[in-house]
């Protein structure tokens, strides 16, 4: 045990002191925080408006038009496709001359293409204008009535309440659950791969360097294998803990600054653009942000993080010993490793495919059963857990899944240890599946 501890320590320290590890641990959260920050910044700060002149020959817009996101629309019949640039417009939207029943093409003339979001909202504006016109002229509905109906309908909010096990109804947001489940499932998948491959490379290194022989003359092969697996697993947990700490710190900082900043941004935007339309948008953004924070705080973080660490740890232990067995069975040739790795990567890839399906139907029998089978459960179960634990995932499923994963880990380790013991000292050719099977199940 003392020797296993020495091995764990070495495996852990050599990797944690590695420059790549330190960089990836600190830069990944900074990278993501930066990415989110940039997206938020661009969304708020995007006040760089294009001016588009509209030649509304058929009078669809009735001489009034609201500017859409990032585009300022101005009704100006004196502009044509030749002189629009001189007059300071970046595009001209030309409406056909014909009557209101005509649904001929509206054409936009410009030298550069507009943003896709702007294009979509512009199209919507035109449709809405036509709609208003038709309603007014055919059914004689008053323009102000149409507007008030529209406004009332847009005020309806969709708020999903999920009934938990307790008396309190929880705020449920399937979009947040979807995102969280997807993220957690993928993170497990990627880390299982990264750390599993790390174990395999470590074993291969020891074998090709022939240091395994020196070490195995002082410790048992099983101790060497477990020392490596636990050491590298500890590296993975360290990285996660660092990420959790860093992300918590970042979001605390962002949480402290963003609302304040946002208000300032909104105010400034209001001042710079006449018409006050930005005010509305700014408020919407604020409300959206508030809602997002609410749903985020309604998520049971302790449960998700706890389950995540459990499924990472035992999923890793389940697969790592298999990776170690493969590493012990190959020689220098990395292609051998590829072909022997295939049966291990297969269930992992299958799991991610099931996960993508399960995330849209977390209650389906495919999702349920594959989240209980140890080969898939770390990935699939992590995708289901954010949908609610006694709700979507009953306690018996979670318990059974965890129990089977732990048993699975003991079984794979037992089998792998036998393959490893023989493989690590065998040089020459790579082992075949038949040979590995024999190593694993012979009686000795």
């Amino acid at each position: 045990m003392n020797k296993t501890w020495l091995i764990i320590k070495r495996e852990y320290l050599t990797r944690v002191r590695n420059r790549t590890f330190i960089l990836s641990t600190f830069l990944t959260p900074i990278f993501f925080a930066g990415l989110i920050g940039i997206i938020v910044f661009i969304t708020i700060k995007n006040t760089d408006k294009e001016k588009v002149a509209i030649i509304d020959n058929s009078g669809v817009f009735k001489k009034q038009i609201d500017s859409v996101k990032s585009i300022q629309l101005i009704l100006n019949p004196e502009v044509d496709t030749i002189n629009y640039e001189k007059k300071g417009y970046s595009a001209v939207l030309y409406g056909p001359h014909t009557g209101i029943n005509n649904t001929d093409k509206w054409t936009m003339y410009s030298r550069k293409s507009l943003a896709i979001s702007a294009e979509a909202s512009l199209e919507e504006k035109i449709k809405k204008g036509l709609e208003n016109n038709m309603l007014m002229e055919r059914y004689h509905v008053d323009n102000s009535n149409i507007d008030s109906v529209r406004e009332a309908s847009s005020k309806i909010e969709f708020d999903q309440k999920r009934l938990g096990a307790g008396a309190n109804a929880q705020n449920g947001n399937s979009l947040v659950a979807y995102g969280l489940g997807y993220g957690a499932g993928f993170l497990i998948y990627i880390t299982l791969f990264i750390y599993g491959a790390m174990v395999m490379r470590g074993v291969m290194e020891e074998k090709t360097n022939r240091i395994a022989e020196v070490i195995i003359s002082s410790v048992k092969p099983f101790e060497l294998m477990m020392g490596k697996i636990i050491g590298i697993g500890a590296v993975g947990l360290t990285q996660f803990f660092m990420w959790i700490v860093l992300i918590t710190a970042f979001s605390a900082i962002i949480g402290a600054f963003i609302p304040h900043d946002l208000l300032i941004q909104v105010n400034e935007a209001n001042k710079s653009i006449p018409g006050g339309q930005m005010n509305m948008q700014g408020n919407e953004a604020m409300i959206g942000l508030l809602k997002a924070t609410n749903t985020f705080s309604s998520v049971n973080w302790w449960l998700i993080v706890g389950c995540f660490l459990f499924y990472f740890l035992f999923g890793y232990l389940f697969y790592a010993s298999l990776f170690a067995a493969v590493g012990s069975s190959v020689n220098e040739d990395p292609q051998d490793a590829q072909s022997l790795m295939f049966p291990i990567t297969m269930p992992l890839i299958l799991a991610i495919v099931i996960m993508i399906n399960a995330i849209t139907h977390p209650d389906s029998s495919l999702a349920t059963w594959s989240s209980i089978i140890p080969f898939f459960s770390p990935i699939v179960m992590m995708a289901r857990i954010p949908f609610g634990v006694p709700g979507t995932v009953p306690y018996w499923q979670l318990g059974l899944s965890m129990l089977l994963l732990v048993i699975g880990f003991l079984v794979t380790t037992w089998i792998s240890a036998k393959i490893y013991r023989t493989g690590i000292l065998l040089y020459g050719k790579k082992a075949t599946w038949k040979e590995m099977w024999k190593w694993a199940f012979r009686n000795s």
Partner: protein, 309 residues
């Protein structure tokens, strides 16, 4: 009491009888040579003695007790044939790690490493990595790591390959010193001149079987062919005798083989009677190399795969 006793050891692989019924015993303080052509089963034999492999049959007795790899590993130092160390790890840390795996405490390990590094003038290596070392330097380091924990039994698989004469001598001297201190050293090699120089006792293994066992001198006596070299003052005459056959002629000498029933005095008498001046007369003992080739020759040089029932 022998330090190590091996009796009827057997290890079969799927297609090879790697070690087939080998027995020998080693007294403490001897330097023991394990010889054999490539693929004779030397490495398998050594791996069983170090506890890496379990024998299929047979027994190993270490210091009078049944060999227990877990407990006895501390008293054995093993340097495998193809040496390896962690390439990216600092040399000092690596030595500390491997010494601690052998059961040394941290303080002891540090002290011992300092001592050996000073002895081999490796003090500046501490913070270097293995990839900075030449092959010969790595070998020196590996030797140090093997003997660091002062094992009773040191097993060296081809210890001199890749070393220049100076470093080779350095390690040879250390081997002598360790033997004098009471360590027992097993080393396997196929370089025969080293065996004659260093070893007290040898065994020769071929195709998994022991075909020779004894002290270097005894082995030579056992395989001598009654050849003698006679140095003469003049060029040798053409002469025939009942006592010997001439097997080789030189400018000023002859190599003769004494026939059964005669002895050295009969040969000398023959030349004295013929008034030929004799400058020197000595027995030609076969070199270990000759014995090796004689014994191994005729058997297939390369091992063939076979079916093991």
């Amino acid at each position: 009491m022998p330090l190590l006793q091996v009796s009827h050891l057997r290890k079969f692989y799927a297609t090879q009888k790697a070690v087939d019924d080998i027995s020998f015993s080693i007294e403490p303080g001897t330097i023991f040579g394990l010889l054999g052509p490539n693929g004779a089963g030397k490495t398998t034999l050594l791996r069983m003695v170090t506890g890496i492999f379990f024998p299929d049959e047979g027994e190993i007795t270490f210091e009078g007790k049944k060999f227990n790899p877990e407990e006895d590993a501390v008293r054995i130092g093993y340097m495998p044939e193809e040496r390896g160390l962690y390439k990216k790890m600092k040399i000092g840390e690596q030595a500390m790690y491997l010494a601690q795996l052998k059961g040394l405490s941290k303080a002891d390990a540090f002290e011992k490493i300092k001592e050996w590094f000073t002895k081999f003038e490796m003090q500046t290596w501490w913070n270097k990595k293995i990839e900075d070392l030449s092959k010969g330097m790595q070998q020196k380091l590996q030797f140090v790591i093997t003997v660091l924990h002062e094992p009773k039994l040191i097993i060296l698989d081809e210890p001199f390959s890749g070393l220049d004469p100076v470093n080779s001598n350095l390690i040879k001297e250390e081997i002598y010193k360790l033997a004098k201190k009471g360590c027992t050293i097993i080393f396997s090699t196929h370089r025969m001149e080293q065996v004659e120089e260093i070893c007290d006792q040898i065994i020769l293994v071929n195709k998994g079987r022991k075909i020779l066992d004894g002290t270097v001198n005894a082995v030579k006596q056992q395989h001598k062919e009654n050849l003698f070299h006679i140095g003469l003052n003049s060029s040798p005459p053409i002469t025939i005798s009942d006592a010997f056959d001439i097997t080789d002629r030189e400018d000023n000498g002859l190599v003769v083989k004494i026939k059964d029933g005669y002895n050295t005095n009969d040969v000398l008498q023959h030349f004295i009677q013929q008034q030929i001046g004799i400058k020197e007369f000595h027995e030609i003992l076969p070199s270990i190399n000759d014995i090796f080739i004689k014994l191994v020759e005729g058997t297939a040089v390369t091992r063939q795969f076979q079916t093991v029932e």
